[in-house]
């Protein structure tokens, strides 16, 4: 039994018919070809699938596609473009915070949610916010550095000056 939904994804309204047991993650990956959010565990424990739902980080594997009806979803694909990267993406490159890159989209979206809520987080707050995003490659230091650098950049950007 298909459920008709309307969901705004990366600024564009999509009218879809989804299955009742379909996760938001499957919907994004399989119906909309937005494969930036990854499946790492399918039970909300790894964070690779994090997207923003109404501006807040959620595990897309723990949200049903049908639940997204009438809501707004932002994925990593909605963040930057080649040559016009988001400050978080830039900072991840500058700090070599991308190793295999599988956790990167989820990590960046979680960090974005935090910075939208709290533009000047302490290191402890960053650590807490991204503690549900597992990375086996980096040891996290480069990622933590990148998020702090991006926060600074975004604050400076918000104030209309470059640091």
């Amino acid at each position: 039994m298909a459920i008709p939904i309307r969901v705004k994804v990366n600024g564009q309204v999509e009218a879809l018919e989804v299955a009742p047991d379909e996760s938001l993650l499957s919907m994004l990956r399989e119906r909309l070809d937005l494969t930036g959010a990854k499946e790492g565990c399918n039970e909300g424990e790894c964070g690779a699938c994090v997207v923003l739902l109404d501006g807040k980080a959620v595990n897309a594997c723990l949200v049903l596609a049908a639940e997204a009806d009438g809501h707004e979803v932002t994925t990593i694909e909605g963040l930057g473009r080649p040559g016009a990267l988001h400050p978080l993406q830039k900072a991840f490159l500058a700090h070599q915070a991308v190793q295999c890159g599988f956790c990167t989209p989820g990590m960046i979206m979680t960090a974005l949610s935090l910075l939208l809520e709290n533009p000047a987080p302490t290191e402890e707050e960053v650590r807490t916010a991204i503690s549900g995003n597992l990375c086996r490659c980096t040891g996290y230091r480069q990622i933590l550095d990148a998020v702090q650098a991006a926060a600074q950049e975004m604050r400076a950007g918000a104030q209309g000056r470059r640091p």
């Binding site: 990267l85 490159l93 989209p105």
Partner: protein, 776 residues
């Protein structure tokens, strides 16, 4: 090769080539490339640890609408082989076939299906009727070796393909012993003999991307496998072997892969995906669930490492006896070579005059062990570095001093290098570079060793909390000498750019970037001018793949040689254009420069060679095989706080100083080190498979098998200590594995320093620590 005065590209923190696309979430991984209407593959795992399949009925599954292929032992040819992605003939026993009439661990393969949707595939699995004759399982390696124990590989066709001891009727997957000098006499004559048994658990790599493979039948009848692998060429060979096809019928492509750490040095699901695609004539995507990744992929060999060391009162080392009992699980993948590595990557670190090394790898009805970062050195270093710490305390000397005094030095060799290879004799080598002394000194300074070690005030208890500091020294290798081979091909384009084609496999480590840096350094261009294509069995030269810490050192040398080859051709053409001698032309800033300063761009050289005169493709090709496996060296330092009431160990500071020769890309080398260190800390404190008495894993999810997260990261300092390894590209050695070996001994030593008890069984969970404190 001699050390150049300075580098232009090497040693610089060049941005990772694939990072922008990865940060944008571009569809670069296997799962992102599944075509529309692709079939979904699923594997039926065994519910029993040990059973014979009396009967299997797949007819109901086959009849389900939407099911396109069902595989099991009755309809798939039996080809004995190994899943270990190693050079052929493999040192791992041929004890595996795609589907067998016997299952040997919970999660072992019984059947597989391809269907139009995941739901249909799962329904098809439920429709397969299997009648098992349940056999007694054996879960403990010591029990498995006893006479009368159930025989796990009783099939007559299990065999070793190289001449090594292999006794499946005793559940023995491999046996190694080697002796140098007269250890028994030396122990008798030693003033101090220390002994201990060190237990390390089953653990998993947990790449965040599980194993996955897309198999597609091509129009010319070939099969293309897009697969998350560290070993694309071995994958091609092994799939061809399993399907009884020539390798020319298989095309393996490695996309970006979401971490491997050794787990993907295993040709684990490609055979099934390929067979399903072959039978159905449709593309099939097969991916392990996280639970399957835990239960049915590969793990670290759980070991009991018995170590005895002897020394004289004056601190001279007398003898060492290392006895390894390795649990290889249901199949012998990497059983022999991981055991060998316990000796070959740990014993040469100190100058032992008398040595005995024995290692048994034993079958049990538990999940299958395999390659995992560190590869046996992790387990043995725990034992060695713990006992060295004890020895230092017994001798009343600083543990750093003890290491400085006895560590192998430049120009020296160890009898172990020759004695211990991979199932055969090893390769003699002398140490061409070591920065261990500087690692020890710089690491000690960074952690504040002098202020803390032996300082009662620093150690003063704060309530239930006790502080401690510990350290260890480490070595690994760089490639398997005289075995591993990498090839590289490089061609010049009209705009002065190059295509670099390498078989080497970037599993997230950044090797594409590192190899581009090597090429760019030789050719005098920017990294942007090097377009890298890697790990495509149709397009790129052969490479053994990403394992044994080989890529930078070995494949990097192939790239350097190929680039030098191309450079020579460029100089020849430029010589004509510049009316200069080829031998005098330098390549820099994208140009060929003659002694007087007159220059010509590489674009001009390319166009000249392609269109104007004596037309030819300027292209360099080289293979490289190493005669040596130069060890990287490292010193690790841990500062811990032990809560004596809860048993909780918190690592507050951690310093890893590593000599990886020239760090081609220092940021990436730091990233490798920090990733390995945190993985090691997580393994030391937290990670462990738990099993029921029937051999079922009890914590087969990220909910119950915890790997460390950001909140667990200590203050982490990485120090790269440059040395110059003459046999490596621009002086480079390896860096990827060594870092994981340190945390277990360094933390254990720090715990001892804090509370005076030795933790010899990992992980050091709060309960174990508390129990140890009670035992005293």
């Amino acid at each position: 090769m001699t050390k150049p005065k300075s580098f232009r590209v090497v040693g610089k923190p060049v941005a990772k080539k694939d990072a922008p696309a990865l940060a944008l979430g571009a569809p670069l991984f296997c799962a992102d490339r599944v075509p529309p209407r692709c079939l979904v593959g699923r594997i039926l795992g065994s519910p029993h640890a040990h059973a014979r399949i009396r009967a299997i009925d797949i007819s109901a599954a086959e009849k389900l609408p939407g099911v396109h292929a069902v595989l099991c032992h009755t309809n798939v040819p039996r080809v004995m082989r190994t899943t270990a992605g190693q050079g052929a003939p493999e040192p791992s026993p041929y004890d595996f076939t795609t589907f067998d009439a016997k299952v040997r661990f919970v999660g072992d393969r019984v059947a597989a299906v391809a269907a139009e949707t995941a739901a249909i595939a799962e329904e098809a699995l439920r429709a397969i009727r299997v009648e098992y004759e349940v056999l007694e399982p054996v879960l403990d390696p010591r029990q498995a070796m006893k006479s009368g124990a159930p025989v796990i590989h009783d099939e007559p066709d299990a065999h070793a393909v190289i001449p090594v001891p292999y006794e499946p009727q005793r559940n023995l997957a491999s046996h190694v012993d080697t002796m140098v000098g007269e250890p028994d006499r030396a122990f008798r004559e030693a003033d101090i003999v220390l002994e201990g048994e060190f237990v390390t658990p089953y653990a998993q790599h947990t790449p965040i991307e599980t194993h996955c493979c897309l198999a597609e039948p091509l129009l010319d009848g070939r099969l293309r496998l897009t697969t998350s692998t560290q070993v694309p060429f071995h994958a091609r060979r092994i799939v061809a072997q399993a399907l009884e096809l020539p390798v020319s019928r298989i095309h393996v492509v490695k996309p970006r892969i979401g971490g491997g750490f050794g787990a993907k040095q295993e040709v684990l699901i490609e055979d099934v995906a390929a067979l399903l695609a072959q039978r159905s004539g449709r593309p099939v995507y097969l991916e392990l669930s996280r639970r399957e990744e835990f239960v049915s992929s590969r793990t670290r060999h759980s070991m009991v490492v018995g170590l005895k060391i002897g020394a004289q009162k004056n601190g001279e080392l007398a003898a060492v006896d290392l006895r390894v009992l390795s649990n290889t699980g249901a199949y012998g993948s990497h059983a022999l070579t991981v055991s060998c590595n316990c000796g070959s990557k740990v014993l040469p670190l100190y100058r032992w005059p008398h040595i005995r090394f024995t290692a048994d790898a034993v079958y049990t009805n538990l999940p299958v062990a395999g390659a995992y970062r560190g590869y046996g050195a992790t387990q043995a270093a725990f034992a060695m570095e713990s006992l060295m710490d004890e020895l230092a305390r017994r001798l009343g000397c600083d543990p750093i001093e003890l290491r400085l005094r006895h560590a192998i030095r430049k120009g020296e060799t160890s009898p172990i290098f020759r004695a211990l290879g991979e199932g055969s004799e090893g390769v003699e080598q002398s140490i061409g570079s070591t920065g261990l002394e500087r690692c020890l000194k710089l690491g000690a300074r960074a952690i504040g060793w002098k202020k803390k070690w032996g300082n009662a005030r620093w150690h003063a208890p704060q309530g239930a909390l006790r502080r401690g500091i510990g350290m260890c020294a480490l070595m690994q290798g760089s490639s398997i000498p005289q075995v591993d081979m990498g090839g590289a091909f490089l061609k010049l384009n009209e705009d002065g750019s190059f295509n670099l084609l390498v078989g080497a496999t970037d599993l997230g480590t950044g090797s594409d970037t590192v190899l581009a840096q090597v090429a760019a350094e030789v050719l005098g261009v920017n990294v942007e001018q090097i377009v890298v294509t890697s790990s495509d069995t149709d397009l790129t030269p052969f490479d053994v793949g990403a394992y044994a810490s080989s890529t930078t050192y070995l494949s990097g040398m192939a790239v350097r040689k190929a680039a030098e080859n191309a450079a020579a051709q460029i100089r020849k053409v430029a010589a004509r254009l510049l009316s200069a001698k080829a031998s005098e032309i330098r390549l820099e800033n994208g140009s060929a420069v003659a002694p007087g300063g007159k220059s010509v761009t590489l674009a001009r050289v390319a166009c000249h060679s392609l269109y104007e005169h004596d037309q030819h493709q300027i292209a360099g090709f080289a293979s490289h095989i190493s005669e040596k496996s130069p060890p990287p060296f490292s010193a690790h330092f841990a500062e811990v706080v032990v809560d004596t009431e809860t048993g909780l160990v918190k690592v507050e500071k951690y310093v890893a100083a590593v000599d990886c020769g020239t760090a081609i890309n220092p940021q990436l080398a730091e990233g490798q080190t920090e990733g390995a260190v945190l993985n090691g800390i997580s393994y030391a404190l937290c990670e462990e498979y738990l099993f029921t008495e029937q051999g079922r894993m009890r914590n087969d999810s990220f909910r119950e098998y915890k790997i460390f997260c950001t909140r667990d990261v200590p203050q982490l300092t990485t120090i790269l200590v440059p040395t110059y390894e003459p046999t490596g590209p621009f002086g480079a050695k390896s860096v990827s594995e060594i870092g994981i070996n340190g945390p277990m001994p360094a933390i254990s030593n720090a715990i001892f320093d804090a509370v005076g008890v030795r933790l010899r069984q990992a992980p050091f969970t709060p309960e174990r620590v508390l129990e140890a404190l009670r035992r005293g």
